[in-house]
């Protein structure tokens, strides 16, 4: 594990998202509650839509291009659609978001 401070949770709007640029591509950081965040790949497996621009509801994200819905916990597509997005370790400590950079370093090496 290689926990890196990527910013204050207040920089992500509640039920919104921000993008984190990494060597393995863009990661979307979602804030689902006052003190709850998730990190997943930003790219929808359907047509490449930017998931960070979608609507966050419960612990789910709806892609802005064609309304595919993914679980932020498992990365699985929900409903009738088939697919999965990568999920990455992230946690909140004292209002700071810590992202496990080793996850993207591995992905980048592949």
């Amino acid at each position: 594990m290689n926990w890196i401070d990527i910013g204050s949770i207040e920089e992500v709007p509640l039920r919104g998202a921000r993008v984190l640029k990494t060597p393995a591509g863009c990661v979307a950081v979602f804030r689902t509650a006052e003190a709850e965040v998730f990190a997943t790949a930003d790219r929808c497996p359907h047509k490449g839509g930017p998931l960070s621009e979608g609507i966050v509801h419960d612990r789910k994200i709806t892609c802005p291009l064609h309304n595919w819905v993914f679980s932020l916990e498992t990365g699985m597509a929900l409903g009738a659609d088939q697919g999965q997005i990568a999920t990455y370790p992230i946690r909140v400590e004292n209002g700071r978001m810590l992202f496990d950079a080793s996850a993207v370093a591995l992905a980048g090496a592949l």
Binding site: N2, P13, L14, P50, I55, H57
Partner: protein
């Protein structure tokens, strides 16, 4: 042999510890007790009932002078400890040193004071001890006194409720979006806020305190918020949180992190120094609630008497001690992955329950309105019970094992008798129920006797629910399409209920209307957001996170994730300067495609998301503003050149188009709205396939509405012929406002008019001049908020601008 024990701090934790100690081994220690407050141990938790007048100080004293005397405790109350000499094993008080064999530090916590200007003025207090409580009680004796409480957590709300009970006019200022955000989720926070408001307490959320200003007498007089609001007060209570009081321990060289660090036996880094209470840090955790402190007291007493024991930090539960606010929260309901929610709402009784499950275990519970089962849920959380067997009925509590689901009729049943169901004809619930009981057995009969749902028809669903409610199984309602899976309500019902119940926030809608999900979905959220901002323009603040990407980013997303930027050109008119600015921006940001649109605008396609604020700022400098080509709102007013240049033109169609666009721009509507103004019946502006089309003729203006030129093509229908330009403008504005107030989200005007009928629309805005004027007035109120350039605000405010850029960029080195 009797050993010497010195205890610093006579709080609830040390008091309980001494009880355990004297019980386990009376006479083992000779105790000296220091306390900075000039009194012994009292139940600090009970200060709130003292404040509200339900108890007196005498009621909450836990250890009186006789108790200390009986146990041989030397009390040094009202004396500060100035230092600890660990080498000499001495505690140095203001009145002299005392030697110890064992030392217990129980210095508790200090209230956190926000260091804004004026925080140290007289008239600003914390809520911590009896002195603070007495200051608040004294305020209640002053007629017309006003107080401001900063902090909407447990303590702040108890202070607010206590002062309000004593007749003080109280305003609570809270930084976060909802009250008690650490213990409650939004829905429960909304219910709490509502019941506090019912007690006459004003609650301001998302309010940032900027400065406390003094009056001529040097006392604090008013609080300024960063939005410019000034809140005058006689007393300001800061209750934003506590910090472990560790200065003494730190000075003595003990290991201090966020708090004074202790092990499982409550021993600090010095084996002869122990600590407990709010000043300690155990395994990274701090403590603010009393239950774990009592556990610590027991463990510490055991350690002092040589018995093996260890402190384990358990889940805790919270109850707010405010009469009439029935609230319970336990465990953890927000902060981890792999969790599921069970939500139960009963709008009629103001009940909200939410359970959080992780695997087969219950890990958190929030309850409002009916907390009778709180202890039962709390015990399952503490014991980590496997709840998979009772999962289906878990939320109904221990008494209920039969299953069942929320009643879809609950929201309508909860409406008061005088709630207006039919807005067109002013028919209230009791009138309709009365008619049904009098024999009106179906929709047609109700319409005939009460006129309810006989005009625009948007309340039909509610009338049907009243039929169902009153007649029971005898009435079979036709199936209606709900908004989405989160609710059984149709769009029409939802709109009526938002108005009838005066619901002014999204959590209010979710709770009062029994949403089955914690915070909606991508289908209902944009609709609810629109209905709220359309119905309560001054009360509700638009929520960007409930908007589709284009409206949140103020640009249209393209299939490759880039955006298109369309500046407004009023009525299709531009200037060489504007064109130069557009060309410069296109060059500067490497815009790959520049296209002229069907609505007489210029579209810059392929702009990167992070460049949006930059290109907007450049365009703003040339006087160009957002063209809202992305919004469900006014898009364009297309015009022909009219009488100014055209040899056939009968009126100034361009001028009218510009005026209309300047009045209507920025307004949000259920779906997009496009207008056209043609200067003569040759109709070069193609006005007769727009949402509103005006064709100029010699005698005046033909105003027509409800055209379409998309998937469906439909000619507009004539609303009215009018003689003056002003009348044409008035009719257009009234039509747009009627559409804003009545239509279902994502229905274009032609679809909505088909539902309500053009005759009904005419009756409202052509024949009835009062209604027309009222619509125009309401439109203006809404526009006082929304007639502004979103590009300028997004590009101008650093915080908003930042959201277009990546949060951070991880380099390969950082990642490795």
């Amino acid at each position: 042999m009797t050993r010497k024990l010195v205890v610093i701090g006579a709080g609830m934790a040390s008091g309980r510890m001494l009880e355990h100690l004297f019980e386990a081994e009376p006479g083992a220690y000779e105790v000296t007790l220091f306390n900075a407050e000039p009194r012994g141990n009292y139940n600090r938790l009970m200060l709130s009932p003292v404040l509200s007048g339900e108890k007196t100080y005498e009621d909450i004293v836990t250890h009186d002078d006789d108790w200390y005397a009986a146990h041989g405790v030397t009390c040094r109350f009202g004396e500060r400890v100035v230092g600890i000499d660990r080498a000499a094993r001495q505690v140095i008080g203001e009145a002299g040193a005392v030697a110890y064999d064992k030392l217990v530090i129980a210095t508790g916590s200090d209230p956190f004071i926000i260091p804004i200007p004026g925080h140290d003025l007289p008239g600003v207090i914390a809520y911590r001890d009896l002195e603070d409580t007495e200051a608040m009680i004294a305020l209640g004796e002053q007629p017309g006194a006003r107080a401001v409480v900063i902090g909407g957590g447990l303590l702040g709300l108890e202070a607010a409720a206590g002062m309000a009970a004593r007749g003080v006019e109280v305003t609570v200022v809270h930084l976060m979006g909802h009250l008690m955000e650490r213990q409650l989720d939004e829905a429960a926070g909304y219910l709490l806020r509502k019941s506090l408001m019912d007690k006459g307490i004003k609650v301001l959320c998302q309010a940032v305190s900027k400065e406390i200003v003094a009056g001529p007498d040097g006392r604090a007089r008013a609080l300024l918020l960063d939005d410019g609001t000034e809140l005058p007060f006689d007393l300001l209570v800061m209750a934003v949180g506590i910090r472990p009081s560790v200065a003494l321990a730190k000075e003595a060289g003990l290991a201090v992190g966020r708090g004074l660090q202790v092990d499982d036996q409550m021993v600090t880094s010095d084996p002869d120094v122990l600590a407990l209470g709010e000043c300690v840090e155990h395994d990274g955790a701090l403590f603010g609630l009393v239950a774990p402190l009592y556990d610590q007291a027991k463990v510490l007493a055991h350690t002092l008497t040589g018995r093996a024991d260890r402190f384990v930090n358990k889940e805790v539960s919270t109850k707010l001690k405010v009469t009439g606010c029935d609230l319970f929260s336990a465990g953890d309901f927000a902060e981890a992955e792999g969790r599921e929610d069970i939500v139960f709402r009963d709008p009629a009784r103001g009940v909200y329950k939410r359970l959080v499950l992780e695997g087969n275990r219950l890990v958190g519970a929030v309850m409002y309105g009916d907390t009778g089962d709180g202890a039962w849920f709390y015990s399952h959380i503490k014991d980590a019970t496997d709840v998979s067997e009772m999962r289906e009925t878990l939320i109904f509590g221990p008494a209920y094992q039969g299953g069942g689901s929320a009643d879809p009729l609950a929201a309508v049943a909860a409406l008061p008798d005088d709630a207006e169901i039919c807005g067109c004809n002013g028919v209230c619930k009791s009138t309709i129920v009365g008619a049904i009981q009098g024999g009106a057995g179906d929709l047609g009969a109700v319409r005939a006797c009460t006129k309810a749902s006989a005009s625009c028809g948007t309340c039909t669903g509610l009338v049907e629910q009243l039929l169902e409610l009153t007649l029971g199984d005898a009435y079979a309602a036709p199936a209606a399409q709900p908004v989405c899976g989160c609710t059984d309500l149709t769009h029409e019902d939802l709109r009526r209920l938002i108005k009838a119940q005066e619901l002014k926030s999204q959590p209010a809608v979710w709770q009062e209307l029994g949403w089955t999900t914690p915070n909606g979905c991508h289908v209902c959220r944009p609709a609810v957001n629109y209905y709220l901002l359309a119905d309560w323009p001054l009360d509700y603040r638009d929520d960007p996170q409930s908007r589709f990407v284009n409206e949140r980013r103020h640009a249209n997303i393209q299939k490759d994730g880039t955006f298109s930027v369309v500046p407004r050109m009023w009525g299709g008119i531009t200037t060489p300067d504007e064109l130069r600015a557009i060309a410069d921006a296109a060059d500067k940001y490497g815009v790959p495609t520049v296209k002229v649109t069907g609505g007489q605008r210029i579209d810059l396609l392929g702009v990167r998301g992070e460049d949006l604020p930059g290109i907007w700022a450049d365009l703003n400098r040339a006087g160009l503003v957002s063209g809202h080509a992305y919004s469900k709102g006014l898009r364009t007013v297309k015009t022909c050149v009219g009488s100014e240049h055209c040899r056939f033109g009968t009126q100034d169609s361009t001028g009218l188009g510009v005026k209309l666009e300047q009045i209507l721009w920025g307004s949000w509507t259920p779906h997009k709205v496009k207008l056209g103004v043609s200067g003569c019946p040759r109709n070069c502006a193609e006005a007769t396939c727009k949402d509103v089309g005006i064709v100029c003729v010699d005698s005046g203006y033909q105003v027509s509405v409800a055209g379409a030129a998309g998937m469906e093509v439909k000619e507009t229908e004539r609303l009215a012929d009018v003689a003056t330009e002003q009348e044409a403008i008035d009719l257009t504005v009234a039509f747009v406002q009627l559409y804003r107030e009545q239509a279902k989200y994502l229905d274009r005007p032609y679809k909505w008019v088909a539902k309500v009928g053009l005759d009904w629309v005419k009756a409202q805005i052509v024949d009835d001049l009062d209604t027309r004027q009222a619509l125009i007035d309401r439109f203006e109120i809404s526009q006082s908020v929304y007639r502004k350039d979103p590009w300028a605000s997004e590009a101008g405010e650093t915080a908003l601008r930042a959201r277009y850029a990546p949060l951070a960029t991880l380099s390969l080195e950082a990642a490795e």
